[in-house]
Structures are given as structure tokens and as C-alpha cells.
């Protein structure tokens, strides 16, 4: 599905954009024009290289509450909502199961959060990591597996 066509100006190749940007940069329009690399707008994202919100981490948990009609959604968005209807998955898992690049998955997810089709269980913000309590919980959980 992801036909690519190189062309200037539709996005930045800067690796820190979109995917890596923190909440403080969420309002920035993706730093357009800074990148010099080839651009690869994806058809499934309507040519956009950046999600409408930068709140997704690879391990952000998402799910579809299933109370919104799927009419009008693109096939990819429909697949995404259907995938996330039975339960929660991380963004990384969603990307793999849909066989889409993570960057594209984030664009679709952002739209679907905006439209109410997808809800997130927000991961602990990076700025608050690592809380000793959280690490202790991880440690206890690992020890319980021995």
C-alpha cells in the first residue's frame, strides 16, 4: 500500500521529528524544511510524514473502544481499529501486525485518536522516569518469574 514518490517539501527527514519529539515540541509543525533527505510521503497517510500529535511512544498502549462507526475510514484505518478492538496493544505491536512502518502507524493512530476511534493508555512520560517505585515494580515482577 505504501507507494512512495520522492519529492521535496512534504516532510522532514530529521530523525528527531515526529517520532522522537517530546511533548514540549508537540505544537511544532514538524520542523519542516530542516531536513535535506529525500521525502517519502505515504499514500496511506495522505502524504503526511508527521502525526497530528506527538504523544506516541513505541510502547504507548492503544485500544479501540468500538463505539464509533467505521464508515468513512480508509482501509488502513479500518484495519487498525479492527485490530485494536479486542484489546490493548503497544504502538510497536500495531505496526508489526498491520505490516506498516512505525512512522506511518503513528500518523494513522493520531488521526484515529483525534476522531475518537482510538484511545491511549498513556505511558509514564519520559521526564518522570525512572521512578524508583516503577523500577521496584519491574524488579519484583522479574524476580517473580524466577
Amino acid at each position: 500500500m505504501s507507494r512512495r514518490s520522492p519529492g521535496p517539501g512534504a516532510g522532514s527527514a530529521d530523525s528527531s521529528d515526529a517520532a522522537g519529539a517530546g511533548p514540549s515540541r508537540a505544537a511544532a509543525p514538524g520542523g519542516r524544511g530542516r531536513g535535506k533527505g529525500l521525502v517519502r510521503p505515504y499514500v496511506v497517510t495522505d502524504g503526511r510524514a508527521h502525526p497530528s500529535r506527538n504523544t506516541f511512544d513505541l510502547v504507548t498502549l492503544v485500544f479501540a473502544p468500538g463505539d464509533r462507526p467505521l464508515t468513512g475510514l480508509s482501509p488502513e484505518k479500518r484495519r487498525l481499529v479492527e485490530l485494536c478492538s479486542p484489546g490493548s496493544l503497544s504502538v510497536a505491536e500495531v505496526a508489526v501486525h498491520l505490516a506498516l512502518p512505525v512512522s506511518v502507524t503513528k500518523v494513522l493512530l493520531a488521526d484515529l485518536v483525534d476522531s475518537g476511534h482510538i484511545l491511549t493508555r498513556t505511558p509514564i512520560p519520559a521526564a518522570e522516569l525512572p521512578a524508583a517505585q516503577l523500577l521496584q515494580e519491574v524488579l519484583d515482577g522479574l524476580r517473580a518469574r524466577l
Binding site: 505491536e93 525512572p130 522479574l142
Partner: protein, 211 residues
């Protein structure tokens, strides 16, 4: 697969193969498993994961990389990025994701995604090729990501004392060094425990959290 916490997971409709998290899970954390080619990252993740480890490859723009002369070679502007990841549900509301990736992908968005917000990293190393671990260790240090080192035991690995390995890898005195067998669940779990204990000790001493 053998985790009781994953046992009530439902599998996905439409044959996606997705194994869903328990509805009570609210918090997700991630640790990286890094190291040079063929050091056992995929095995390690597969040994510990409650789901079949997921593998993804993406063609990506080599943003910011020291790209060779590209004249007339447009394909060289992309690189294939691979990662393996697995999942461990640790309790009713907490899930741990393990991401395995080689360090040479440092310039890619996916690497940025993996390191951002990660609690820390386990560096898998091989006594036969210690020098190949330097790059990834340097990379973690650049990112300010704390790490522990686990020597993955291979049948023909030469045995060295910890002191010799520490010296060869130029490890800080506080950096944990453990031995593990990436095929063995208990051994691999213990390596992760050594890492998390270290991460916890850093919070106690008031060091800055990684960003």
C-alpha cells in the same frame, strides 16, 4: 507463552496473530537489548517474551547518517532497519517490552524511538569479540542510557575473569557485569534483574534519570 498473566489473552480477529494485553494493564515500560551482530539479541528476547517475538524491518531514510557519496546511487539514501521485540506482563497493570536492535542503526528514527523513554539497556557481549561491543556502549553513553553488560555464553567462548573483561571493556566500577545464556529463561531473567537493580540503585543515589 508460559506466563500466567498472559494466559487470559485473547487472540486477534482476522488472523492478525495479535495477542492482547490484559485489560487491567495501564503502564508500559521498555528496556533495550543491544549488541553487535549475532551476539544473541533475538534469542534473548525470544527466550523471555510471552508472545512470539515480533520482527520488523523498515526501509528508512538515512537521516543524519554519514552517507557515502550518493551520486547516481539514489537507493543508498535508504537503509533497512530491523528490530525484534517481545513482551513480558509483569503484574496486573504493568508490562515490560524488550527491544533488540543493533547499534549501527543509531541514526534512524526507529533507534530514536527505541531509546527515548527506555529505562536502560542490557548490552549483550561475546568474549570472542569483545571489541565489537565498544560501538554500542559508546552509543548508549551518548544517549545517557544506563546499561549493564551480560556476557552471552557460547559453547566455544573462552573463559575470562570478570576483572579481565572489565578491563577489556573499560567498564565503570559500578556497571554490572553478568554472564548469561540467552537460550535459558532463568539465566536471561537474572541478567535483566541485574540491570534493573542497577537502575534502581542509581535512583537511590540521586543521579539524573536518563532522557
Amino acid at each position: 507463552m508460559d506466563s500466567a498473566l498472559a494466559s487470559d489473552a485473547r487472540t486477534g480477529a482476522q488472523g492478525s496473530g495479535a495477542v492482547y494485553l490484559r485489560p487491567s494493564v495501564r503502564t508500559s515500560v521498555k528496556l533495550l537489548v543491544v549488541g553487535h551482530f549475532a551476539v544473541g539479541k533475538t534469542t534473548f528476547v525470544g527466550t523471555l517474551s510471552e508472545i512470539r517475538p515480533l520482527h520488523t524491518e523498515e526501509k528508512m531514510t538515512q537521516a543524519g547518517a554519514l552517507v557515502d557519496d550518493l551520486d547516481g546511487v539514489p537507493d543508498k539514501t535508504t537503509t533497512t532497519v530491523a528490530m525484534d521485540f517481545g513482551r513480558l506482563t509483569l503484574n496486573d497493570h504493568l508490562v515490560l517490552y524488550l527491544f533488540g536492535a543493533p547499534g549501527q542503526q543509531r541514526f534512524t528514527r526507529l533507534w530514536q524511538d527505541m531509546t527515548k523513554g527506555a529505562l536502560g539497556a542490557l548490552v549483550l557481549a561475546d568474549t570472542r569479540r569483545l571489541d565489537q561491543s565498544f560501538e554500542v556502549m559508546g552509543l548508549l553513553e551518548e544517549h545517557g542510557l544506563p546499561y549493564a553488560v551480560a556476557m552471552n555464553h557460547f559453547p566455544d567462548s573462552p573463559r575470562h575473569s570478570d576483572a579481565e573483561i572489565r578491563e577489556a571493556l573499560d567498564l565503570l566500577p559500578e556497571t554490572p557485569l553478568v554472564t548469561c545464556d540467552a537460550r535459558d529463561r532463568r539465566s536471561s531473567t537474572e541478567a535483566l534483574i541485574a540491570l534493573v537493580q542497577y537502575l534502581l540503585s542509581r535512583t537511590a543515589t540521586g543521579q539524573e534519570p536518563p532522557r
